[in-house]
Symmetry: C2
Subunit: 187 residues, 2 copies
DNA sequence: GGCAACATATGATCGAAGTCATATTCTAGA
DNA sequence: TCTAGAATATGACTTCGATCATATGTTGCC
């Protein structure tokens, strides 16, 4: 099943495909065919700078969509390169454009987009906190410590080691409790 | 004039207002009235954690909108506090919801939202680069060094000093040229 | 059960980015 | 024109997060 709001589209708009590591999904400058939903694997979006510098624009992970803006553009503005093999679904550009005629789809799309923007803004604020201890605390308050500490550290743009040390410091300061190995909660 | 796509809305949906530093625009838990476009001044969006920790969710600057997700929510999920006095426009929630019945508005909204998401992803990738020199280089390639170096440094989540030093190092390495005081370009 | 892979956890060391200080140049405005 | 404030620029010092290393605990799988 596709994530909202793309579950509202007819199946004729969807092209599932398997990809292998190293495959190039699309290239900067080629005609846009639509956006993609990644079911499994990893994809890098890269842009080539004026002097040939390769700049990673985005690293897409399982369960996320990418190249959404291509729906509103004639050409792709970056390369999409498969890092780890996986399954993905291409969603046809014209079908999405047509779907905006359906107010339910439009509202569902806008709702998700607004939430994404809000989430990004929040992560940027948190990542902007310099002290690891404050950053980790903010991350916990924001509810980011749901999975493993390793994933949490990645979200905070910190190393695991620094994250563990910050967690311990917060526990020692009484601001966080550590009821069992690997689980942390606000005090 | 309002930024796209809100310029497509009828003026009856808009409520301009002046605000002073310290004013509270809305509080977490109060009924949503709509989103805001900030013409001048500065606004902080803050959420209060379970134990009373104040967490800045977003700092809105001139020319940007905020609380977009409130259009799809019954209650505000954060406080909006005016940091610097300015002018803003409230955009009525029901008018926006109704406007999604207009495919042109829906497409314009989605186009802008998709671009915003893409821009956020890119900034997050760049901010995730640890070495200041690499980060500054990526920032230049991405075209972020359009205004002052100070603004550039803020966007990169680096201090001005580190940014200046990285710029100098890049100039010395021949990767960037510094035709005149305060101007830098790719070599 | 036993093993491999991974998450948790912490110590030691180093380097890079932050902080503080200061000087110069530029600009806007009284 | 003079001045206040901001941007540019760089030096000295410190700190904190990254890196490398290592050990233990946990989980899934053959």
């Amino acid at each position: 099943m596709l994530p909202e709001p793309y579950d509202l589209l007819p199946t004729t708009a969807l092209s599932p495909q398997s990809v292998a590591a190293g495959d190039v999904l699309f290239r900067q400058g080629t005609r846009t065919r639509g956006l993609y939903v990644l079911k499994s694997g990893r994809v890098h979006l890269e842009r080539v700078g004026p002097n040939g510098e390769r700049l990673i624009i985005h690293r897409a992970g399982p369960g996320t969509s990418f190249a959404e803006a291509s729906v509103f553009s004639e050409r792709y503005h970056c390369d999409a390169i498969i890092m780890d093999a996986g399954e993905l679904v291409r969603i046809d550009k014209s079908a999405v454009l047509a779907a905006f005629g359906n107010p339910d789809f439009a509202r569902a799309y806008a709702c998700l987009a607004a939430q994404q923007v809000q989430a990004h803004r929040q992560i940027m604020e948190i990542v902007g906190i310099r002290r690891a201890e404050d950053r980790v605390m903010a991350g916990i308050v924001a509810g980011f410590l749901d999975g493993t500490v390793v994933d949490f550290a990645v979200r905070l743009q910190l190393t695991q080691e620094t994250t563990y040390r910050a967690l311990r410091a917060l526990v020692e300061a009484g601001r966080v409790i550590n009821p069992s190995r690997g689980t942390y909660r606000l005090a």
